[in-house]
């Protein structure tokens, strides 16, 4: 089980011959991910860590059959095109690692994907991983133990930090998903939580938010209205961030009066979602909501 990807997911790496693409292909293969092909225009016919490289997905699908998921490492200027290529060739999960894609291009392809029922993870994401089954991302695999906590986050290293805290206390993770650090992403907390609700294995969800936007507030409103729910514990980064400044992520900017820490925290707490003060408090709060 787990969500979005699993042991039977057949994946392709777009931009497999690049430095990042090649490096992480190795790590994903080591993890057991079924990478059946890679693309790199003009480099078709070669191999990267034993994975056949094609010039196009058109060719990859023709040779290897249908492909379920893609992970994109191509540079920002070519990333939108890679997303369209993936969607137009029947790929249902598209993980966009690439950082720095123009906002209006993201808006376009994210809508395009949504209409077609395709899940876009990212852009600017560490990826998605169903622990011990399939890793489509760049996260350090060893900090994640398998278990029943669903992890959904707008952050990278902070997620690993919290996963490590969970492990220390004996909690494992079903699937971990980085939504992506940009203002507009393919999936949001609500989309992912709905999947976790339907996943038999996942018993609780840890939500890792940060300042900027109103994704956490919207989740709180949504969560309040649910009749069937699984417990959620949250951590929000950025309490000390000043308004109007971009804190690393393009998405982590408090502007237009939206998205400050106070608003997020009170929304979540009003929805009966406990918010941890430090990463190390997350498993403690989890214990409390799970009634151990």
């Amino acid at each position: 089980m787990g969500i979005l990807v699993n042991h039977s997911t057949r994946a392709i790496v777009q931009g497999i011959t690049g430095r990042e693409g090649s490096f992480h292909t190795k790590l994903m293969l080591d993890y057991g991910t079924k990478i059946v092909a890679g693309t790199s225009p003009g480099k078709g016919g070669s191999y990267v860590h034993g994975v056949p490289v094609y010039n196009t997905i058109y060719e990859a699908v023709r040779e290897q059959g249908p492909i379920d998921a893609s992970i994109i490492f191509v540079p920002a200027r070519f990333a939108s095109d890679a997303v369209y290529e993936a969607i137009d060739h029947g790929i249902r999960v598209v993980v966009v690692i690439t950082e720095g894609i123009p906002l209006h291009e993201e808006v376009k392809f994210v809508n395009y994907a949504k209409i077609r029922g395709v899940d876009v993870v990212g852009p600017n994401t560490p990826g998605v991983m169903t622990v011990n089954e399939c890793k489509l991302g760049i996260m350090p695999a060893h900090v994640f133990k398998r278990g029943y906590v669903g992890l959904v986050s707008r952050s990278g290293t902070l997620t690993y930090e919290i996963a490590r805290e969970l492990s220390k206390r004996g909690y494992g993770v079903s699937t971990v998903i980085g939504l992506g650090g940009d203002p507009v992403t393919g999936l949001d907390f609500i989309d992912v939580y709905e999947r976790f609700l339907r996943d038999n294995e996942t018993k609780a969800v840890v939500l890792i938010g940060e300042i900027g936007g109103d994704a956490e507030e919207r989740f709180a409103t949504y969560y309040t209205k649910l009749t069937y729910k699984k417990p959620v514990v949250a951590y929000i980064a950025g309490r000390t961030a000043p308004p109007g400044k971009r804190m690393g992520h393009a998405g982590a900017i408090i502007s237009m009066g939206m998205g400050d820490y106070k608003s997020k925290r009170s929304s979540l707490e009003n929805a009966d979602i406990p918010v941890a003060e430090t990463p190390s408090q997350v498993p403690i709060l989890l214990e409390s909501v799970l009634g151990k």
């Binding site: 200027r77 804190m247 992520h249 998405g251 430090t278």
Partner: protein, 375 residues
Amino acid sequence: MKLYEYESKEIASRYGILVPRGRVVVSPSEAYSVARELGVVVLKAQVLVGGRGLAGGVRIAESPEEAYNIAEKLLSTSIRGERVEKLLVEEKVCISRELYLSLIVDRAARRPVYLISEMGGVEIEELAKKYPEKIHRVYVDPGIGYTDYIARVSLQVLKLPWTLLQDIANTTRAMYKIMVDYDAELVEFNPLALTCDNRLIALDAKIIIDDNSLYKHPELQRLYGRDLSEYEKRARELGFSYVELDGDIGVISNGAGLTMATMDSILYYGGKPANFLDIGGGAHRESVREAVKLMLTHPRSRVLLINIFGGITRCDEVAIGIIEAIREIGLIKPIIVRMLGTNEEEGRRILREQGIEVYSEMDDAVKVAVELSKR
């Protein structure tokens, strides 16, 4: 990247939107001569921070002499930490109503949306909190783009006379075109005013360009970073995400979320972070060295807390970078290191040899840093 009011108005004007006559000045005597030409004028400090009006950055001058005096005053002040270097001196326009009109990218809907309100002149954030029902939204499909009915709806929401349909249509259409042509995140006219003689005029204008799209606009890219402090500029040049704060514990971390969590933990344990510095993923010794040098020499920070979660980033590389920085600058302030992950043992050994203790737990490291900052 935010554009100054005068830049935004230049663009708006090029797209056919009416703005007050005026000029940018950098000296009181220039202000004097513009005022002599235009009569009663408004002097507006050109800064990128918000809340300019409340901070006294917008003033009316009835005479050229008064314009001179106000300009002299404004050009010697700072507004919320930002030095005023330019003023926009504009004719004072007779207005009957102040309206609000903007086009932004709505994160939740993942589309551009027009925000339209007949209550202009207040900040939209305030309006959204106090009178959310007074803001009408019209969403735009990114695949379709602008459609004409948006103008008709805007006209009705703004309660404008039907004779102004072409004017409002020119404005709404131009806003979308500006958003597309300039890769803007925001195009805002607040207030958009109805003049005493029934014309629409943009009294204030604000355009924010998407940073990720700047490469498509070389003329704007050159301006990038102009609103940064000297320190922020240096950090950016070194390739780091950097934000200046007002505390005394210097922070270096990897990943935006973890860096913020480190800052927040400092606050939680009673300290105050001096900055946000994210060295990014997979940093090598060189960039670690430069980051550490930057924060060692950072005047306000009394302690330096380094928090690295090694995934792609290798701990031994981080350790070597720290050591190299200390060799160059000297251990002029305490450095607290928390390191985890790839090659952790080797990194720990390197630092211990230099007498620097390495913590495994973030909480422990933060607590010690806070304690040291209070000595």
